[in-house]
């Protein structure tokens, strides 16, 4: 419609005349096609920037993963060794252990993050003063730097920290939250989930508030119980949101390193190494840049798969519009 109006107002602009039978819309789309191509130039700065600052480094990462790179040879010609770094990574017990930790970490952060967020959204749906304050408090905590939140929890879980003061008070003694070879990974993962819950709450809350009140009211008139309302009305209604959010949470958990770095630095020993963290520490604390790169490439492959799944679902309707 609009393009027709424009064509009428400015006939001289459309230099390429289409046959009248095809009509004005055809000419309009051709003109806007030219405008669109010119508009695409605005993508150029970002494209150049990302090719130089992300694309090229990624190529370097893959090249380093195929070579023997140490601190001494980092800025010199690299000796290519084929897949040796990958063989070394897959063959080492630390790698398998880090893989296990990554799976525990992702499951916990995903599970607690999603369930906690949905529950918190349920109880924070109202518009009362207290709920508004509580939601703001949670989002504020979420917006704090992870290094700040991680420091607080490192202190809370320390032998002099609040959790152990309470634990000693109730008679369970001092708990080595961050110093136990088997348990530390759970501590760090739970804190990570804690930091993510405000975000999932916000998203779930928006989805819950978007449900047509008539549907909920109809259920109430029919006498459904509260848990039935949650199970049969609210949960199904937020399922599309939950899918996209769930993928984001898996990625968030997988790539998370800040809480590990601040709270345990991968330790004690190797007890809290996840795959991405292991790749980092091989490179920057063992100075095995080649091996670190190989582990990072393996971790990146996982992200690649998730990115494809995510893009397919989120951009499904792009072409149609």
């Amino acid at each position: 419609m609009l393009t027709i109006k424009k064509e009428k107002a400015l006939p001289a602009l459309s230099t390429v005349r289409a046959t009248p039978a095809i009509g004005a819309t055809e000419r309009g789309s051709r003109r806007s096609g030219r405008v669109r191509r010119r508009r695409t130039l605005y993508v150029l700065p970002a494209a150049v920037f990302l090719v130089v600052m992300s694309g090229y480094p990624l190529v370097q990462l893959v090249r380093m993963s195929l070579a023997n790179v140490t601190i001494a040879t980092l800025q010199h010609a690299w000796a290519y060794v084929g897949l040796q770094n990958y063989r070394q990574a897959f063959g080492s017990p630390v790698f398998g252990q880090a893989l296990d930790h990554t799976i525990i970490f992702v499951i916990l952060v995903f599970g607690v993050g999603m369930a906690g967020g949905f529950t918190a959204a349920l109880v924070l749906r109202g518009g009362g003063r207290f709920t508004v304050f509580l939601l703001a408090l949670m989002v504020f905590v979420w917006s704090l730097p992870p290094v700040v939140n991680g420091s607080i929890w490192r202190f809370l879980m320390d032998q002099y920290g609040l959790l152990n003061i309470v634990s000693r008070g109730v008679g369970t003694g001092t708990v080595p939250f961050l110093y136990s070879p088997g348990g530390s990974i759970y501590s760090v993962a739970l804190v990570n989930a804690w930091a993510a819950v405000p975000f999932t709450t916000l998203v779930f809350r928006a989805a819950l508030l978007g449900i047509d009140p008539v549907i909920i009211e109809a259920g109430r008139v029919d006498g459904v119980r509260k848990w039935q309302e949650v199970k049969f009305i609210l949960l199904p209604a937020v399922r599309p949101t939950a899918f996209v959010l769930g993928v984001l949470m898996v990625v968030y958990a997988f790539r998370s390193f800040d809480f590990i770095y601040v709270m345990t630095d991968g330790g004690p020993g190797t007890a809290t190494n996840t795959l991405p963290f292991l790749g980092y520490s091989e490179a920057f604390t063992q100075y095995q840049y080649g091996l670190g790169s190989a582990i990072s490439v393996i971790a990146g492959m996982f992200i690649l798969v998730v990115a494809v799944v995510y893009s397919r679902s989120v951009f499904r309707h792009e072409k149609a519009k």
Partner: protein, 293 residues
């Protein structure tokens, strides 16, 4: 019996009437969960503030000893002497620079991609998603090598460039719907009035997408304020660290002087609090929009 029935029916009816937005009046379970959330999110902050005012020898006793104390500014003074102001300045330069660069590049790209519907656009958006999801622990390895090769290590510029590269894909994806929401008629009439495309972008589209730019700008600032992995590895002398890197280094290396560490954490958090107060309403709506299309 019948009276009791009547009463419950009456209560039910009034409850239904009282909430026309479909929210039950909260019961005991709801209130206990709310209380739990309050404890989980307020108590750590309270303990942070409390500890930062403790005299150094006071941590380690019982809760009562922790609560009954004479507040002291000693820890803040110690932080101030430990290069706090320099670090804050570094943080400001890095976060400010990253925000300016990311917003500039991402707004332009979001505008450029807003109306593209060709089949290739899904590929571009997918690539942005992939870049956005890459672990930072992976990208820091080649960035260390690349910045070393061009002699940019140990500069704030390296951290700004790395942070902006990390955040630009995400910022572009988040901004795109805002530029999409600009009415096409408006852009066309601007063009009819003789405005160049750049002029239309600057004085029509940017003002309309303002809320998006504020949300994204705030988040980019917050994220680059807190970023420490690039800072710790790309800046070689700890004297040039921003606050986040300083805190990360001190917590991992001398993790025992808790009042000092909590004071440093409080100072690192303070600018975020100020920013949060001014931008919460944008964040609340913008975040949910961006997360789930």
């Amino acid at each position: 019996m019948s009276k009791g029935h009547l009463l419950t029916a009456e209560r039910k009816r009034s409850r239904r009437l009282s909430n026309n937005v479909g929210i039950e009046s909260p019961g005991g379970v709801t209130w206990s969960l709310r209380a739990l959330l309050l404890v989980l999110y307020a108590l750590p902050l309270f303990w942070l503030i409390l500890t930062s005012f403790e005299p150094p020898g006071n941590v380690g006793g019982s809760a009562i000893e922790m609560l009954l104390f004479k507040p002291t500014l000693e820890s803040y003074r110690a932080a101030l002497n430990g290069g706090l102001l320099d670090a804050a300045l570094q943080s400001l330069i890095i976060a400010g620079g990253t925000t300016a660069l990311t917003l500039g590049v991402a707004c332009s790209a979001a505008y450029g991609l807003a109306r593209v519907t060709a089949s290739g656009v899904v590929l571009i958006l997918g690539a942005l998603v992939g870049l956005q999801m890459l672990p930072q622990t992976a990208t820091v390895i080649p960035l260390f090598q690349v910045f070393g090769a061009v002699h940019l290590l140990n500069t704030q510029l390296a951290v700004i460039l790395a942070d902006a590269a990390l955040l630009t894909p995400w910022a572009t994806l988040l901004l795109r719907p805002f530029f999409r929401a600009v009415p096409e008629e408006l852009e066309e009439s601007a063009a009819l009035d003789g405005a160049s495309q750049f002029r239309t972008f600057i004085s029509i589209c940017i003002p309309i997408a303002r809320n998006g730019a504020i949300t994204v700008g705030t988040l980019v600032f917050m994220l680059s304020w807190g970023e420490f992995l690039y800072a710790i590895n790309l800046i070689l002398s700890p004297g040039k660290y921003p606050l986040s890197a300083l805190l990360a280094e001190q917590v991992t290396e001398f993790g025992s002087n808790w009042p000092n560490l909590m004071a440093l954490a409080a100072v690192t958090a303070l600018p975020i609090l100020v920013l949060f107060i001014f931008t919460y309403r944008f964040l609340r709506s913008g975040l949910t929009l961006g997360a789930v299309k």
